[in-house]
Symmetry: C2
Subunit: 451 residues, 2 copies
């Protein structure tokens, strides 16, 4: 049986690649209005593709970009939901692409083009997995529902609304998502934890306009200086977050995780080279992986205030702003952390300026039980598909839809990613290893058989 | 004699106003290339005006905008140099002007238009003062050299180069400048101290591009956060500059100054209202005037780094920058202070980022002896012209050309200003009180007679 799956995928490899290239040719850039028709055409194409495989497939219009829903019954009554997204990031900066972003190309065993890894290529591994099972076995081993959204790259909430609305009807036993990464190019991975997030911005407002720093300097507070002093009162130079009670609920690293992290033998030098920093930085006494995956952060995403042009302009800025986001870990509650942060920010802001806090958003961290049978099945499927042991990893980033699934659908979520951070998702020359694409399709088919 | 001067100015008042309006009609915006011809035409107009008064007047081309030099001998061999500038700031924001910036208008005893107070209107008080003396006395009481530059508003160095080059020939006994302010609308003032300045910018560079704050947050330093921490390590929340040895050479306030500052009865509430700040701020235990005029500052003129668009983008910025300027007071040496600041900035920058310091400029503070006979003569002239006691004030700002004069020409400088900060120099609807214009012309004539 396993041999039939592997053989089918291998035999149809070049057609699979041609098809994923068709999928990638649609400039389904959900953030850009002028691509609304392309985005819908892309959704229609994949819907029709599901129909051609015998799926009951349709577009769901719930406001925003359409959701593709495709389902097919299987041998067992078990219901697997596969989530992905067919929309892509804008192609900017266009001039840095070596091949046109929407004319997919294969070069040296790698598929280039927008969406190659994020997420059309990864979604397509599952589409070809169900085709493989249908063609080799005549039917699916279980019921499969694909739910592909078109707003992942533009922050839309159509899917969250749909899931909340249709939760009683959806009721999956397990959810599979391939929108994450392998541990490295040779090591397949299951992501069992994601950090949550609190993001907001604040403005420190001083004089009613930029004023002369000679005429007023020494008499009134400088909003840009106050901003710096406030940021410094949030994080110490040695990386400790200074917001009272911020760490109260942080789950300590478990022994098996410490052990596993050590075995992963993360290479600090590689990371330093990757982003060209002179030295790594973070909380003292903790390994890089521990800091990235299991510890919260408080980051400045942007600061602005005053004069930005050439040379100097000696003013006291009218205001200064900071965009800030904190990554959260189990079991930090994002609403509580938001309140703690806001309270701290307010308490450290001097009464010589006016403070405005705005635009926050939150998403909770998630942590899955690595001993869940579904996750163990995925581990086994990846071992078969890749011929390698699977790493259990956490992710420093946040995937808000995952926490929506957890909250609304109460079932295990398998995050098995086939991409790499170096695939340049969101960047120019986005690409995806064909080897990972094929091994991913095989793994996905194995998983559906054993789940 | 005094009566003749007053009578002549009063009798010719409306012609004086017509003439200054002609002077103001030239859009002599030195910062903008497209106005180079206008700027030169303006210089030529005032040169011709000097010739019509019997002055030996010409344009000096030394690179950059021309300098107007006009001289006339007088009864005594004493030589007075009068400095001013005929160039103006750009008119932006044009839509906020209630009358066209280069079509001067008189309304309610006030002259509106670009250059009204800064500095065409103030320069013209001296031009009309020499005319008055020539017409009433037949000759000037002393030799007068006008030196009017065309690059004051665009940071050019033509005048500094000319003064350095021609210093042996210039050799004035005293310099008069009217490019500053009165103490208030009713109180004429002599500015006897100016703060100096050190301005520079620095950049904190981290990863080679903006990177994902989930993928890297906790592992590498955040340049915008480092910037904030560094700024906070330069100035304490209570306004003390934390740079070692920064205050070493600061001249303490003398008793007569303390007494005088108290008498000036500066109104903090007015200042708060003027710039709409909830509370004033500065070094503890010192009055507002003391902080503005006699204490150094360390101000952030601009900060920038990372994402500035709508909503949030969860990145760690590749870099963050700050433009900084410190105002200096006697007897701080700007080169020493620059070195102290740079040394401190380098010492507090962590090795997780790269630091770049660039683009500094310096100008020394100046302080004149209020008992200098020239300054006492100006006090007396202002008393006559305004019918009020003259205030001795310092200025929080810096006028770099004054320190060039002090260094190159070694003579007393009289800063007698007829403007007000509320005249909106550099802003829309710049204006100048006609009463100050006329009283200024009278005072300038009185001064030349008694100096």
């Amino acid at each position: 049986m396993t041999d039939r799956i592997e053989a089918y995928v291998d035999a149809n490899q070049s057609r699979f690649i041609e098809e994923v290239e068709q999928f990638m040719r649609f400039p389904s850039v959900s953030a850009q209005r002028q691509h609304d028709a392309d985005t819908r055409a892309c959704a229609q194409w994949i819907t029709d593709h599901f129909k051609s495989l015998g799926f009951d497939a349709r577009l769901i219009d719930i406001g925003g970009q359409p959701i593709v829903r495709a389902s097919a019954k299987g041998k067992s009554s078990k219901r697997v939901m596969i989530y992905g997204h067919y929309d892509v990031q804008p192609e900017d900066p266009v001039d840095q692409w070596q091949t046109p972003p929407f004319e997919p190309t294969v070069h040296d065993g790698t598929l280039y083009g927008r969406g190659a890894t994020d997420d059309k290529g990864q979604v397509f591994t599952h589409v070809k997995a169900v085709e493989t099972l249908l063609k080799t076995e005549g039917q699916l081993p279980c019921e499969v529902i694909f739910l592909l959204e078109g707003e992942e790259e533009s922050g839309g909430d159509a899917l969250a609304r749909y899931v909340t609305q249709a939760k009683d009807e959806l009721q999956p036993d397990v959810i599979i998502i391939s929108d994450s990464t392998m541990y490295d190019a040779n090591t397949p991975a299951i992501t069992y934890g994601l950090r949550g997030i609190v993001a907001f911005e604040f403005a420190v407002r001083g004089p009613n306009a930029d004023v002369h720093s000679g005429a007023y300097g020494g008499a009134i507070a400088n909003p840009a200086m106050v901003l710096g002093q406030m940021l410094a009162a949030c994080v110490s130079p040695d990386g400790k977050i200074l917001i009272p009670h911020f760490y109260d609920d942080v789950a300590p690293l478990e022994d098996w995780e410490s052990e596993m992290f050590r075995k992963l033998a993360f290479n600090d030098e590689n990371l330093m080279r990757e982003v060209s920093v002179p030295r790594l930085h973070g909380e003292a006494g903790r390994s890089t992986l521990e800091r990235l995956w299991t510890r919260p952060t408080f980051e400045v995403n942007g600061v602005f205030g005053g004069y930005q042009g050439e040379r100097s302009k000696t003013i006291i800025p009218a205001f200064a702003t900071a965009k800030v986001s904190a990554r959260l870990v189990p079991h930090q509650d994002p609403d509580r952390i938001r309140d703690l942060i806001f309270e701290h920010i307010r308490s450290i802001c001097p009464d010589t300026v006016r403070l405005e806090i705005s635009g926050f958003m939150t998403s909770p961290p998630v942590l899955f039980d690595v001993n869940d049978p579904a996750i163990r099945a995925a581990q086994e499927a990846l071992r078969k598909g890749f011929g390698r042991e699977t790493a259990f990893i956490r992710c420093g980033g946040s995937i808000p839809v995952v926490s929506t699934f957890v909250e609304q659908l109460h079932c295990p979520v398998i995050l098995m990613g086939f991409g790499l951070d170096s695939d340049r998702p969101h960047g120019p020359n986005e690409h995806f290893s064909l080897d990972s694409f094929i091994r991913g399709a095989k793994s996905a088919a194995h998983l559906l058989q054993t789940i």
